[in-house]
Amino acid sequence: MSTAEEQPGPSKPSGSATDEKERDDRTFECNICLDTAKDAVVSMCGHLFCWPCLHKWLETRPTRQVCPVCKAAISKDKVIPLYGRGATKQEDPRNNVPPRPAGQRTEPETSTGFPGFGFGDGGFHMSFGIGAFPFGFFTSTFNFGETRPSPAPRGTPQFEEEQFLSKVFLWVALLFICWLVLA
């Protein structure tokens, strides 16, 4: 009856290096398949998934899309892909899954550029926007006779189409001017 203390199973290796490595690995495990995340994406609430896993979950409950971990609202457009260094491609991740959403780059703020063409946020903006708009059209409308960087060759359907579009824009511009004068 005197059995040794040694039992198979639950006894864990006590090497702290192993434990630490394991914990490290776990940090980057997908919360769904429990494997190291492939084509990793992170939700706004900060939870990591493989894109194929998360996509499948979103498809499973299309009407109630929540983060599997914390139940925060989640959606396809609101996940951020993670690009590690030297991510190797072993297999095609897009077999039957749409491509992982792309990262969004926001350009740094610069103060040049077209002033807000925003209706409904103050009279000043509105009149300025409408005033500038037709002139934009003019410049692009009235130089179709001159040489352009790469005009479509005459006689092709594309040429016809451009001619037609130019005329349409011309009419739109003229209507705008009439409206401005009458208003």
Partner: protein, 154 residues
Amino acid sequence: MAAMSPSKRRLQRELMSLVREPPPGVFVDGDEVGQNLTQWIVHMEGAKGTLYEGEQFQLQFKFSSKYPFDSPEVTFIGGNIPVHPHVYSNGHICLSILTDDWSPALSVQSVCLSIVSMLSSCKEKKRPPDNSFYVKTCNKNPKKTKWSYHDDSV
């Protein structure tokens, strides 16, 4: 081994970690389960200082091929079904994470812990009020029941 489906692979991982670090009062026979990963028997012990102290229970988990996107079918089996206001005498459990509130980030371990805590917070051992009617009329699969989770205070 290489051709293991994603659901089997995940179950294999869960089994390994549950055998290695079982939560208190929960026990899984790795060899028994390893034979057929789609059906597990989990042994559970009533926690000390609760109404179920010293009792042994058995939980059966059945996993579909859609696991973990699809919740497991979990029932108490065997001779001792806990007497609890959310546990029917046929072993069916009224617990929202097993149907509506299931999430693929949950696991066998987290389901077991929820059930342990459900038992531990019980104040009075009694069957659900509609037990006899439910047991006579219900489907064999508890997931087919349209549960209404109104009473979470027990």
